[in-house]
Amino acid sequence: MLPFSFEKVRTEQDAIRAAAAGARYIAGGTTLIDLMRDEVERPERLVDINALPMADIRADGSDLVIGALARMSDVAAHPETKRLQPLIAESLIEGASPQLRNMASMGGNLLQRVRCPYFRMLDAACNKRDPGSGCSAIEGLNAGHAILGTSDHCVATHPSDVAVALVALGATMRVRGPQGERTFPVEELFRLPGDTPHLEHTLRPGELIVEIRVPGGPYARQARYLKVRDRASYEFALVSAAVALETEGDTIRQARVAVGGVGTRPWRMRAVEEALRGKATDRNAFEAAAHLALEGTRPLSHNHYKVELLPRTIVRALEMAGGTA
């Protein structure tokens, strides 16, 4: 690990000042320290923000408000999370391991780097790590890679589970930085790789994620997260789906659907949601709607299976949410 300087801050102002001057925020550190050890990340300054009072989890009316420093395990176990947004709890529990969930913060979870093996392999070309060097995955081992939102420069998936649930539920995030505070949808945090895959998010220099707000909705209690992976737990998704349904009898009033493991960012499926509106909660309707998820997919040499697995995962998640699985 390369040397760095380290500062622990007690106030947001000090944190933002340090970051505006080039320091990297560190909270749980589960991504950053791992990548620093491999010298994929080479920050010269770290600012430890763990002492900032940003770990609260609370209800605000029907909204769930989560401090950016709240740990994944604490958010998942919190009574207000279970009461208001069980989908958030379920998606968190399906991610990482108990130890990592005790360490990783919510803000850091959203900003975690990709798990593409070439990103960590210093002697392999990777446009994300070394812009302009090329993408080793496109012609290489790409079974785990994306089929949506890819470019000729990067095909890595965003690895977060909870981000998929947050995008499905239309969560927003509040950030503060040198130019003040702003709030925007979590979905807009993530950039498509395009020809700048090294730019992963839309935060401005020095901006600090303060909190995440998950709006309540009539679909919040009928919501499930299904994660398909190579083993039953502690593994990244091949395909995952976060779905939420508002139903009246056997009819769907509205649906929320987002998927993970297939996109270069968490992927909201608006065409699928629209197709479900007014339909019956049965397998035929689910299959017809889920088929629309395939629009625009571009499979690579080793991940054609995701084209088949994606709609099946959505159908199964809808059945789980609708109580027919």
Partner: protein, 213 residues
């Protein structure tokens, strides 16, 4: 060069920090003395780097206070040292194992303020003032912790390398209330890998100890 090798010589010798170990020379003491010699060579390299104007920032150290298994320890640490390396290399608490060193295997699991974490993925400097419990802190004298006893009773290991991490994780799993069924134990212990696949014994041991506590 490992992180440990970069520590200046005066901090590289953990002898002064050791408990009253026997006076016989152990395999580990010999290795530690060799490490001290290696770090002397490393120190001159580091000095050269520091003198360069466009090189990386100079290596720096800081004072950190940890309460490890109930004893307060004041340490001068390299900022880069993981909690795992500090436990093993500085405090000689080698029960905590270094497996993957990237948070994937769970062999380095310890409790920080009562919560299980992978000690390889966190910098020691981030835990100033924290209470750390390692496998060495579980038994009371000669009396094993109930989960340690259960691991023996249920053959919860073969080679034993992952066992300290399994036990620390299991202690937390029980305390969290997640050891309610074999399926739950499997899920909540999945951050700890056992290459010998002693999983049936591990699950049985955690279930047994959970039932007794």
């Amino acid at each position: 060069m490992s992180d440990h090798d970069r520590i200046p010589l005066r901090q590289a010798r953990p002898m002064a920090e050791k408990g009253a170990a026997g006076s016989r020379l152990s395999r580990r003491s010999v290795l530690q003395m060799a490490g001290g010699a290696a770090s002397l060579a490393a120190a001159s390299v580091a000095t050269t780097q520091t003198a360069s104007s466009d090189g990386p920032p100079a290596t720096s150290t800081t004072r950190v206070r940890l309460v490890v298994n109930g004893s307060a320890r004041e340490l001068e640490l390299d900022l880069r040292q993981s909690l795992l390396d500090v436990l093993r290399e500085r405090l000689d608490l080698t029960g905590t194992k270094k497996g993957c060193n990237q948070g994937a295997c769970g062999a380095c699991t310890v409790l920080v303020n009562g919560r299980r974490v992978t000690s390889c993925l966190t910098l020691a400097v981030m835990h100033d003032g924290a209470e750390i419990t390692t496998i060495e802190g579980l038994a009371r004298g000669d009396e094993l912790h109930p989960l340690q006893a259960a691991f023996i009773e249920h053959d919860g290991f073969q080679c034993g390398f992952c066992t300290p991490g399994q036990i620390m994780s299991g202690v937390a799993c029980i305390a969290e209330g997640h050891a309610t069924s074999p399926e739950q134990i499997q899920f909540w212990m999945s951050g700890n890998i056992c290459r010998c696949a002693a999983y049936p014994g591990i699950v049985a041991a955690v279930a047994d100890a959970a039932g007794r506590t």
